[in-house]
Assembly symmetry: C2
Homo-oligomer: 452 residues x 2
């Protein structure tokens, strides 16, 4: 990969300042779109605009797609509708073009689409913009190669040549009936193996078994999962009449998978927006503040729980507050994370809530007993006294069991009501477990102190 | 996707008990390898063995690859070396075959390889087993389609047909010179577009620019990143002499990406092994115990920190222990997660440690001030008293700033010494931040109490 160091950017900046366009481009000659995007993301705004203007149109389009949303928005806002239509959209597949249009203000997007010379492209983009975000329709591209089942291999090859010229990558050739309904599939390999018998009909060599499709209104998440599960490089999208209307390709599916994984990870770490380490201090602050505020409220709640107990009289109870709070939070996060991952990879299809909870009860009891006995032994050995040691040990067992069950229950419930279960891995679970853990601790403490 | 419910498994079990093989297979007729693997993972062991034996050899091989390691091991242990060679390996690509061999005991693996009828396959597998785990070599398959640059299109098509018959999916045709060195690439689309001019030489139509390769000893992680970054469906692997020796395909790269993301996620959630929700109670317990034990030790450490302070005399200090501990842990995890993600997507190449830390200092100061002022105002309003409110507020600011810096510093240092930075998101950061947070809190408390 590239090593873009300070010196590289220093030279680039000087070349831009001096207007040494040829030297500038010579430096970037081996760079691919993703590389130039990374360069632009690390330039100051004016330099980014300058460099971008120097690129060839095809590269312009690819770089724009590879950029993060913020920088893309910045570059697009400096271009007229005509420039966007001619320099960018004409060089993009319909799905990427529609993505860019959806990021523009509606009036500007309409203006751009009207300026497209290719009417087919304009209507394709309009069509794609109509699908709701998060559906297979919004994720698919309209570009694909299709042949009719009753054509000969000869005619099919001629047609494929024509259609394929506009496509970057041909994965599969789809076979449709005269009404446009998907009936089969033809791999390029298959076609090549049969290319000599040019009079063979396509329907004699097409594969018809095992064609996995997705409905246009189904979720993009389902599309991604299908492609992952069955190792597909392209997934055909059909409508209610089973007409072939688009395809989803593996590169887009990969992007979606990575985005999902990053989102879950950030939620689990208490980050509320999609941020990167190079974002501004303010963006980073804003993304992290919500969890901290929930933590604050939880902390004040904790103060009230402790205040309700006569801590003055049993001050030694304070010693194990951090332990109880930390363990409740930890166990809750662990349990929630396992549920969230199970739901995401959908290998929980065969388990119902009750069986999940009873398993978690088992895990909680074992972990609780191990940790409880360990803390009992160590705190007795360390001389923290019998009643305190028993209190900590008993309450820790209860806290661990409760946190395990609660951490499992909440994401399952959220999922049942179609709320993102990953929300449960963040602030909510740890804060609630902190407070309930303290309640258990002090309740057990009062009981033990009362008894001994 | 499938809905495998209790009833489905009940019927399956009854059919297996009754030996109704035909009914059994009829139920599974639409199932693909990944689906049957899911079924097997949810059957009791004897039933799984029974069902597996009924499958056709090709399906057997694919199912085995789709299974999780535990179930695969179970099925393999019930097969003789001859069965594994004939029923499984003969139907697998070299990379999958090598993966399975690496999971067998060495003597059994050797026995299996000796029983292979295809000498080429045997030597391919032996070759792949020699590459260290985690390298591109260990991830690649030897199967690929290659042509010589000086061949005519005619001859190339003939050769491709021969080579392609053994391959499941042809992504790209590689062009090599007489010494086997990679010189270019030919897409099937390209070949199809030129198929009529059969006397054209391959070196006239091959693409030679922009061929991304990976060295066989480089890391598999780098291979995955290259494929993601440049939207590749196949990545050629070369040796030091630039000879083409294998290729990595997108389906394997996708599996690796998902595994990496899941690992990072589990580490961040305090889970130490790769577990799934359907694993046994004992496996789940074991995977979670390590973090809990670290938490226990941290909790005892916390008790000593509090014990060092005269909590009896200033019992109200106990009230905000949970708040301080929770906030330190939260901020630390947030900071570490952003670093880990940045390192994983390698968009931190242009930032050095100092600039990361100074940015984090900014984030810490802003978040610290906001949270500090909020807690000052609320605790004054709620009547917690001036000196306690000031103590909590001041120490919270310090804790947040410290935790942000520490959470950034640790994963960066781990990464510098080639240790997985994701380790820093789990137990270590939260526990250390808990304890240091408490130290700061009581130090500030002693100071304020002494002053007021």
């Amino acid at each position: 990969m590239l090593h873009l160091d300070k010196q590289f950017f220093q030279i680039l900046h000087e070349q831009i300042e001096a207007g040494l366009d040829r030297d500038l481009l010579a430096q970037l000659v081996d760079f691919r779109a993703a590389d130039i995007a990374e360069v632009i993301e690390n330039l100051r705004v004016e330099d980014a605009h300058y460099l971008y203007r120097l690129l060839e149109n095809e590269l312009k389009a690819d770089v724009l797609i590879a950029l993060d949303e913020e920088n893309r928005h910045e570059l697009l806002s400096g271009m007229t509708a005509g420039e966007i239509a001619e320099e960018v959209l004409e060089n993009l597949d319909s799905d990427d073009a529609a993505d860019i249009m959806s990021e523009l203000p509606e009036s500007k997007a309409e203006e751009v689409i009207q300026m497209l010379e290719d009417n087919k492209q304009a209507s394709d983009i309009r069509d794609l913009l109509n699908y709701e975000e998060g559906t297979a329709g919004a994720m698919m591209a309209k570009e694909l190669v299709k042949v009719q089942a009753e054509w000969t291999v000869n005619r099919a090859i001629r047609e494929i040549r024509r259609q394929a010229e506009e496509l970057e990558q041909v994965y599969t050739i789809y076979v449709v009936d005269p009404e446009g309904r998907l009936t089969g599939r033809l791999s390029l390999k298959h076609l090549l193996l049969n290319a000599e018998s040019t009079r063979t009909k396509i329907n004699e060599i097409q594969e018809t078994a095992d064609i996995i499709t997705i409905q246009v209104h189904e979720s993009s998440e389902k599309a991604t999962k299908l492609m992952e599960r069955y190792d597909l490089v392209a997934l055909p999208v059909v409508n209610h009449e089973h007409e072939l209307i688009g395809r989803i390709t593996i590169d887009d599916a990969v992007d979606a998978m990575i985005e999902d994984a990053e989102r879950d990870y950030q939620l689990a770490s208490g980050i509320s927006e999609d941020v990167e380490s190079r974002d501004s201090v303010w963006t980073l602050t804003r993304a992290r503040l919500p969890w901290l505020l929930i933590g604050l409220v939880g902390g004040i709640g904790g103060a009230y729980v402790i205040g309700a107990f006569d801590i003055q009289k049993n001050a030694e109870m304070a010693l194990f507050i951090p332990l109880i709070a930390a363990m409740g939070g930890n166990v809750g996060v662990q349990s929630a994370a396992i549920v969230v991952q199970g739901l995401a990879s959908s290998n929980m299809g065969t388990q119902n809530m009750l069986s999940r909870l009873s398993k978690e009860l088992g895990v909680g009891i074992i972990n609780g007993l191990i940790c409880g006995l360990l803390i009992l032994a160590s705190s007795l050995l360390l001389g923290f006294g019998t009643s305190l040691s028993i209190t900590v040990s008993l309450s820790l067992i209860c806290v661990i069991i409760f946190a395990a069950l609660f951490g499992t229950f909440v994401p399952l419930m959220l999922n049942r009501y179609k709320i993102d279960p990953a929300l449960a891995t963040g602030p909510f679970i740890t804060t609630v477990n902190d407070i309930i853990g303290l309640m258990i601790y002090f309740a057990v403490g009062t009981l033990i102190v009362g008894m001994i």
